[in-house]
Symmetry: D3
Subunit: 154 residues, 6 copies
């Protein structure tokens, strides 16, 4: 077994997807921002967003999905067809769930994970003055469909 | 207590740092990519990088630090004076540690956290074909110095 | 009637265009930079461009069309197939007309409007030292074709 | 009188601000998105934002202020110290007011105007499916302070 | 004969490729960084890369290929399907060879040339403190295939 | 002697310039696009630019100077204070000369070289349909001043 993104000499390259037909692909990723309960209260109340904080995080995640090939060196540029970002809260955390779709020769896992990561960073940015010790954790691929490797559910 | 990045009506804005003098600031953040032991063996051998994989992740993290204000909506553009990214491995994980410095009216915590996050995503991108279940976790601020809020160590 | 770009809870998302087939689409937008007659004389003489000013504005508009998905949060990335920017002058204004085309599942209205807006801003930038009170006005969609909503002429 | 951004041969260049000391500068710009009354009702109710639409426009404007030197060819990169975007509504229009500040050798008029323009475009993007004929108008500099040319109020 | 990128009045535009079907296209470009023998020894030893220097150059070139439409005003955005960058060394130079492929209505010559140019600049950046007089030379198109103009070999 | 951009283990990092005071710095770089005489005639006539071609190249070079830290992985972001691009023609070549200035703790050699390279690529882009064999050559640093290493003239 070997890494697909480096050749036999260990040199990085952008994998050739020119022989793969474009097909429908979808990926869902998630991640968690863990914070103090009092911090969460500044953002959400009774399950409802207070002010722009969650909207800012959502917009930053959607925009980041589009920037994925500019951030991740070996990612292909893809014609993203949709991005959706949801938030779910416990009493001291915000879970970020991003779903991205495309019709392309390669998948959108990285786009979904990048959307989650940047939305999490934006959320941290807004709470860091009151809760510097907040942590971003459990960024992972929940599910993907389409492509040769088929359907994956964590 | 209230969020600094939204006003009393909950509207987001870029905080005014115009009255703060530029001072030396430094921040260190870290994060972990947890993977299968066999995956790690593809990247590192006896503590030494094999091929370009870690270099690609390092470069992507350094470049991402510079893109922070383009990714995080309410971050100020800053004249970064250094970025350093180190890797430490256990038998089934790679820890990414990023240190960023500047002389500016505001700190570089977000730059360090963004460098860590994007380096982690780039690493995941390179191993995902062999280890889709790898997880990015424990992205956090290790230490910061400079500015009114003073020295912070986790 | 409801906004297409937010869901029933008011949350923004990038609309799913994955089920729409790519078709030929074209959009023309325009806008006006109104300035003093003496300012216009610095740029245009007898209907002919003097020096690089109009070329700079034209290039900035063409490049901005390509940056649309990076500027407008909920826009899809599109494979633009052409961009054309024309200028028409009256005695105290420059009208900017941009036409953009693509073959894609969604239209290029935003690309045409963004091209016009940025070309107008670039023109203002070059004249602002001599005519700070110049105004950008009447940015609007002139015409669009292709897609389910069909041909639109203002 | 001549344009500052082109030399005597008409060739564009980025004006040399190397001899000018950095000073505090501020600029306020505004613009208007005119739409049908029924469209406005989808965004604002009783003066209160409904859902994310205004937040999306605000975030896009703040981010665009930071992209100004990447959009406007002859603009200098500046260390923006604050960006604020407000909305005021009449019964059929949204007025966008952006204020940007910096400490730099040159002003932030273009940053304020770019923030207004992109926020307006983002707003148009969200309403275009229900109100294609909406118009962006009256983008202008309201006020600027700092720098050799002094205080300007429209 | 006339330039394709300007109209009969000499005005620049992005050429319309909307009538051309997407076909497979590939381009290879190369360039040379000439330096002192002692400088080359800092980067390469016995034909093997020492440290990250070549990897940094390679990554920067791959990422630059994706930025081509953002750098070259009249280039179309293209769905790049692969990028590969190789280095060949003589005793006092590094030759950079980039191959880019796509399936698109227009070719990837500019992407290959941009990858070479930026990889060369990155290499120069890393050696400039020890060898300021190094030169980048002979950036040229080696070969292209696909498209109406057919196969070209220098 | 060792490369400044990698540490003793060969790992790349952005060099720390935090201890260096900002001083005035200037750099001039040049490069040549060699083409057929008949191609040059399409761009320049009697030493005068025909149409927008040279203006497009000039604008792209100015904009590229500002993108340098986004292209060259280990470059610091700098507050560029001026960019100037000149063209000199022989009977079968265009020489591009770029001069960039800043007040910063590090120099602008890379900004000047990047401006030249991208202006050259843009010029090649416009002539490639009529002269695919054109070559970009002799990209080099002509002169730099400011900083600890002092004045350098090639």
């Amino acid at each position: 077994m070997a890494l697909t993104h480096v050749n036999e000499k260990g040199e990085a390259h952008m994998v050739d997807v020119g022989e793969k037909p474009p097909t429908k692909r979808k990926a869902t990723a998630s991640g968690v921002v863990r914070m103090q309960k009092s911090t969460l209260d500044l953002i959400v109340q009774g399950g409802l967003a207070k002010g722009d904080a969650l909207a800012v995080a959502r917009v930053s995640g959607i925009m980041a999905a589009k920037k994925t090939p500019d951030l991740i060196p070996l990612c292909h540029p893809l014609p993203i067809s949709s991005v959706k970002i949801d938030f779910a809260t416990t009493e001291n955390s915000v879970k970020i769930i991003a779903t991205v779709a495309t019709t392309a020769p390669t998948g959108v896992e990285m786009e979904a994970l990048t959307a989650v990561s940047v939305a999490a960073l934006s959320l941290y940015d807004m709470i860091k003055a009151v809760d510097r010790s907040a942590i971003i954790e459990q960024i992972l691929l929940e599910e993907k469909s389409g492509g040769k490797s088929g359907h994956y559910v964590r």
